[in-house]
């Protein structure tokens, strides 16, 4: 899957360059997120500006990474389009992940500036 990555301190900012995040790439997505956790990142920003559809396997990958980070880590989502916001609300994941309007706000929330 295509991702643009920027690191700042212990935070990774990932801009997902895919329109669809579904079962065909959820394994890669999960491996990538767990890789960041393994590397000791305490914060991950996922910029979903380009994503228009996400299925439950992709959501599962995000939840699994958050669990792996433990209480010290955080995942913030930003630039979420309406269909994705609806899916987050449907699953109540908007109560688990921080959802911010844009990348700057998300980085701010995790205490870094790009």
């Amino acid at each position: 899957m295509r991702v643009e990555r920027t690191d700042k301190d212990n935070v990774s900012v990932l801009v997902i360059m895919e329109k669809t995040l579904d079962a065909s790439m959820s394994a890669d997505f999960k491996a990538m997120l767990h890789g960041l956790v393994h590397d000791g990142k305490r914060g991950i920003v996922l910029d979903l500006a380009h994503v228009t559809f996400m299925d439950s396997s992709a959501l599962g990958a995000m939840v699994s990474a958050l669990k792996a980070m433990g209480s010290q880590g955080e995942i913030a989502l930003c630039s979420v389009r309406e269909p994705i916001a609806n899916i987050l609300a449907l699953t109540r994941l908007d109560r688990v992940f921080k959802v911010l309007p844009d990348r700057d706000a998300a980085c701010n929330e995790l205490g870094v500036e790009l």
Partner: protein
């Protein structure tokens, strides 16, 4: 007539659509070409009307009504729409100019049979009335690929054939692909915590189906308001599961696609036992989920920042039976999970928004779903239902401390080997109002079916007696009678059926009476042709047309009618009796494919028809015919051509009935029991203008209390009963298949016949004879018929909708200005 509705203007639009839409030369048209071109012409008009109406509703910000139903038995649309828009006569001229008959053009349209019977047809009538009254009301249903099966008869047995109605009905729809929505199904609950440490049940691992709306425009009379029926088709989230496809398993990818699409593939035939049928549960959820997303999206777009507490001021949701009862859990889920409304506030909103119409008094017919199945298909909804139940039972326990009985009866969950969700209890607990569909039914609902709930919330229970639309069942079905009444008293009755009362004095006018009977005679001739084409049986239009047309069901007692036919036949051939007038007994109706007894009744009727119609001694006295494939179009042909309308259900079983109203409006005399809306029909049209027989619901209940029902005593006492039953046992009507009809005497002589056929038989026979005798006096017969037509105004669906608006929805009309 406006400039667009002249024959010249319509012909120009027809030529345009022939050329530009159908890609054919407009010089030579077939009936089907003209049907399609006219349908597109009408759709253009209706689309404009829909936009104008929507803008008006938007300006006034009126409360909207959403009518959720798994069934909408629409029937044909073109002819009805042309009558409603006042374009029919112009189109007739256009058809003539092309050398075609308008009736044949309209016959090209297939029936949209997206329903089983009364419940679905009621929904269609209500849409028509909401549009006519300019009430912002919209239907929500499923865009089934296959409607109710086509009924074919082979050797007297029902054979079901698929009904792919859309193949020729695509001209009706406006697809709204831009408003498609994502619907999750299956999955599991991940019991987690949110960022603040609170319990946070996350619905994960679901599959996704896409709901695509299709709108069918519904014009009100005169075409000044056009509402719509929104039907949803299920599509896969992508055309193929890409992962499977990429693995090279093309066929499995296609299978996945088909699996999603099957949700809207077929309408389930009437079945009292849907429980356990996973596809049916997913259909019910698919409808409610699509509808509620659409309703919520509209509310949020029209009232940004208004706050959900105001939702019930802007939306009323009506559940047509329990099939969409999941709406209670779905609205709660949307408010609590997706919009962060706290539980108490969400419950207040839900119970101010939703109302429920009950359609049955049979406890065994109340819908239940196994908890295990629901947990698998809708894990989050099941959790919500449990929570609703916990809170509800706590409140009941507070009012009735220590009363375990009431807790177990009112619980949303039925305990037992297999736990089940009681959908009626869910609907009642989650509703603002619960209504029955006739006075008797609403009373029995409170006293017999759910008395505990009625005691808990007496104010919740109301009655709205069903109604029928005169635009379909008078204007379209019987245009000649409509024209006669219009000539006599003006056309106001088409939108205000109570005005038919004005024709009452015409009953004393011999010329009016003659014309009234002449119209009936012509309609009977037309029906005779339909019958011959379908069955190759010739019937005499001068005989009394005695019709029982409705679903085949034991409680509707087609068997009682058949038994009377046997008795009358035997009186003719064995006693040499000559009836006062010839009678043609006409049956029509479908049996649920899995309903063995109903199918056996169809076979019985065919056995009787074969023997009786072949027997020369019955010539000019008695004919029996079963007309296959009963549907809205056939109903239209029948209601205007009926002398006696059979409404003979066991008292206490028929919630209302609407067939009884359609026949009576067209002047047929009701031969019926004191059941459902028959009682109110009798009160309105007068006892002297109906033939009422049989025991009341109360009398039957009393009989059961006092030692029960023993039909063998009736058999021993009544020689006529004995002879009829013995004849059925004797293979007289089924010589080629010995023993085939032996079940009937066992069935009718059993103490367990809960439909009390024989208890009402002698009374029924007398009432049949009385109607036949009266039929010979043409003056009396015409007077009685006219009185029926004149006094049926109350049973307009316009009246029903106004009562719903006032008693249940709190909705107001938004008529166009001027």
């Amino acid at each position: 007539m406006n400039q667009y509705d002249t024959p010249e203007a319509i012909a120009a639009r027809v030529r345009h659509h022939m050329l530009c839409t159908l890609g054919k030369s407009p010089d030579k048209l077939t009936e089907n070409d003209l049907y399609l071109a006219l349908s597109y012409t009408v759709r253009d008009r209706l689309a404009e009307g829909m936009v104008e109406t929507a803008a008006r509703y938007e300006r006034t910000d009126a409360k909207r009504v959403y009518y959720l139903s798994m069934e909408f038995l629409i029937g044909r649309s073109l002819q009805k729409n042309l009558y409603v828009l006042g374009m029919y006569e112009s189109c007739k001229k256009v058809a003539k100019s092309f050398g075609l008959s308008m009736e044949a053009v309209c016959d090209e349209e297939p029936d949209a049979a997206l329903g089983n019977g009364g419940l679905g047809r009621l929904a269609a009538c209500y849409l028509d009335s909401m549009a006519t009254l300019a009430l912002p009301g919209f239907g929500y249903g499923i865009h089934y690929d296959y409607g109710l099966f086509r009924q074919d008869i082979q050797n007297g047995y029902q054979v079901e054939k698929p009904d792919h109605w859309q193949s020729a009905a695509g001209t009706l729809h406006v697809e709204r692909a831009d408003q498609a929505m994502v619907i999750p199904l299956y999955g599991k609950i991940d019991h987690a915590e949110d960022r603040w440490g609170n319990y946070n049940p996350m619905w994960m691992d679901w599959n996704v189906v896409i709901g695509v709306p299709y709108d069918i425009p519904i014009p009100g009379y005169g075409g000044r308001s056009v509402n719509y029926l929104r039907l949803f088709t299920a599509r896969p989230s992508t055309d193929f599961d890409i992962k499977i496809f990429n693995q090279g398993d093309y066929l499995r990818a296609v299978e996945q696609k088909i699996s999603s699409e099957k949700i809207s593939k077929i309408l389930y035939p009437q079945d009292k036992l849907y429980s356990g049928k996973e596809l049916r549960l997913t259909q019910e959820y698919f409808l409610t989920a699509c509808a509620l997303r659409d309703i919520m999206r509209g509310f949020l777009a029209r009232h940004p920042g208004r706050g959900f507490a105001h939702f019930p001021d802007h939306a009323a949701i009506q559940l047509n039976d329990t099939h969409p009862a999941l709406a209670v859990a779905e609205l709660m889920r949307m408010l609590v999970d997706e919009h962060w409304v706290d539980w108490e506030a969400a419950w207040d909103i839900t119970t101010k928004t939703i109302s429920y119409t009950n359609h049955t008094l049979l406890p065994e017919a109340l819908e239940k779903w196994p908890v295990d199945l629901m947990q698998n298909v809708l894990p989050r909804h099941m959790q919500i239902i449990f929570e609703i139940n916990r809170r509800f039972l706590d409140s009941v326990a507070e009012i009735h401390p220590g009363d375990e009985g009431i807790l177990s009866r009112t619980s949303l969950i039925e305990e037992g080997e297999e736990k089940q969700v009681r959908m009626a209890n869910l609907a009642i607990v989650g509703s603002r109002r619960v209504n029955g569909v006739s006075k008797l039914h609403s009373e029995l609902l409170k006293t017999r079916l759910v008395p505990d709930f009625a005691r808990l919330w007496p104010e919740k229970f109301v009655n709205v007696t069903n109604g029928i639309t005169p635009r379909r069942f008078l204007l379209t079905a019987n245009p000649e009678l409509c024209a006669l009444a219009r000539k006599a008293v003006g056309g106001g009755f088409i939108s205000d059926m109570a005005l038919l009362k004005k024709i009452e004095p015409m009953a004393e006018d011999p010329a009016f009476r003659d014309e009234y009977l002449a119209i009936r005679r012509r309609n009977k001739e037309k029906l005779s042709k339909v019958i011959f084409e379908a069955t190759l049986i010739t019937v005499d239009p001068d005989s009394l047309f005695d019709i029982q047309a409705k679903r085949i069901h034991e409680y509707k007692r087609q068997l009682l009618n058949a038994l009377a036919v046997v008795a009358e036949y035997l009186a003719i051939v064995e006693d040499g009796q000559v009836p006062p007038a010839p009678r043609t007994c006409i049956f029509a109706g479908k049996a649920a494919p899995g309903y063995r007894t109903a199918k056996d009744i169809i076979k019985l009727i065919h056995c009787l028809a074969d023997t009786i119609n072949r027997d020369k001694r019955t010539k000019g006295a008695l004919r029996v015919v079963f007309v296959p494939d009963f549907r809205v179009t056939l109903a239209e042909r029948m209601v205007c051509a009926t002398d006696v309308s059979e409404q003979i259900s066991t008292a206490g079983y028929e919630a209302s009935g609407t067939g009884n109203m359609k026949f009576a409006l067209n002047g047929a005399l009701t031969l019926g029991t004191l059941d459902g809306a028959n009682i109110e029909i009798m009160q309105k049209v007068g006892k002297e203008n109906v033939y009422i027989f049989g025991r009341t619901a109360e009398e039957l209940a009393l009989m059961e209390e006092k030692g029960g029902y023993h039909p063998i005593e009736l058999y021993n006492q009544d020689a006529e009963v004995r002879r009829a039953l013995d004849a059925l046992r004797s293979d007289r009507f089924n010589p080629a298949e010995p023993g085939l009809l032996a079940w009937i005497s066992h069935y009718l002589l059993s103490d367990h016949d809960k439909y009390f056929h024989l208890a009402d038989f002698p009374d029924y026979r007398e009432a049949r004879f009385a109607s036949l005798k009266d039929f010979t006096d043409k003056v009396t017969w015409a007077k009685k018929g006219i009185m029926n037509t004149a006094r049926m105004g109350y049973f307009s669906s316009d009246r029903s909708i106004l009562q719903y608006a006032e008693r249940i929805w709190g909705a107001t009309l938004v008529p166009p200005e001027g």
